[in-house]
Symmetry: C2
């Protein structure tokens, strides 16, 4: 059993990393297998430059979502699942209360606002 607990700053970084379509596309691509930076660039949006992609990769790496491995002059990117699991854990925990409170929420709204709709 892995401890998926991540500190607050870690969650900040993970969610921030996910808040960009290019980075999500990279993760989506990598979820189908590791890839070199060049391969990622070729499959990304056509206009993306190498430095831009490199920055995105460092954001993902800083969030712990991927790892780069040097293979000669090629850098192979692969996923790091723990960080995403941590974010998912936060969401699940939050949503647990969320869901169980939905009925009480409805009751409260009826009670407090007295026919709100």
């Amino acid at each position: 059993m892995v401890n998926h607990q991540v500190d607050t700053a870690g969650l900040d970084r993970v969610f921030h990393a996910l808040a960009d379509p290019t980075r999500r596309a990279v993760l989506g691509r990598l979820s189908r297998g590791p890839a070199s930076v060049g391969a990622l660039q070729a499959e990304a949006a056509p206009g993306i430059t190498a430095p831009a992609l490199s920055k995105h990769l460092r954001v993902l790496e800083g969030a712990g979502l991927l790892r780069q491995e040097r293979r000669g002059r090629v850098r192979l990117c692969r996923l790091e699942p723990e960080a995403l699991a941590a974010a998912e854990a936060w969401m699940e925990e939050t949503r647990r209360f969320w869901s169980t409170r939905l009925d009480e929420l409805a009751a409260l709204l009826e009670d407090d606002t007295g026919g709100e709709r």
Copy 2:
């Protein structure tokens, strides 16, 4: 069956909204029931000012994560579960591939680097 599909920009906004500890704290508080803006401020980090919190609330609202309801001069904030569900759906979908590829990934690592942890 709710359609949890959200466009790319929507996911951007949801994840961006979650990438801040103050905003996550607000969601955590609201998951235990609705609250006025003033109540949220009182329970937030001590240094938080009303305008700062107001901005955070608009970010959360723009992401579809909460809704404000006017009750006289008080504004009651309550959660909007669909947006979070959409983000969770994206993560689950991504992680599905992720997990199923972990064994192949491990094989690759043994092949290339030998011993990853």
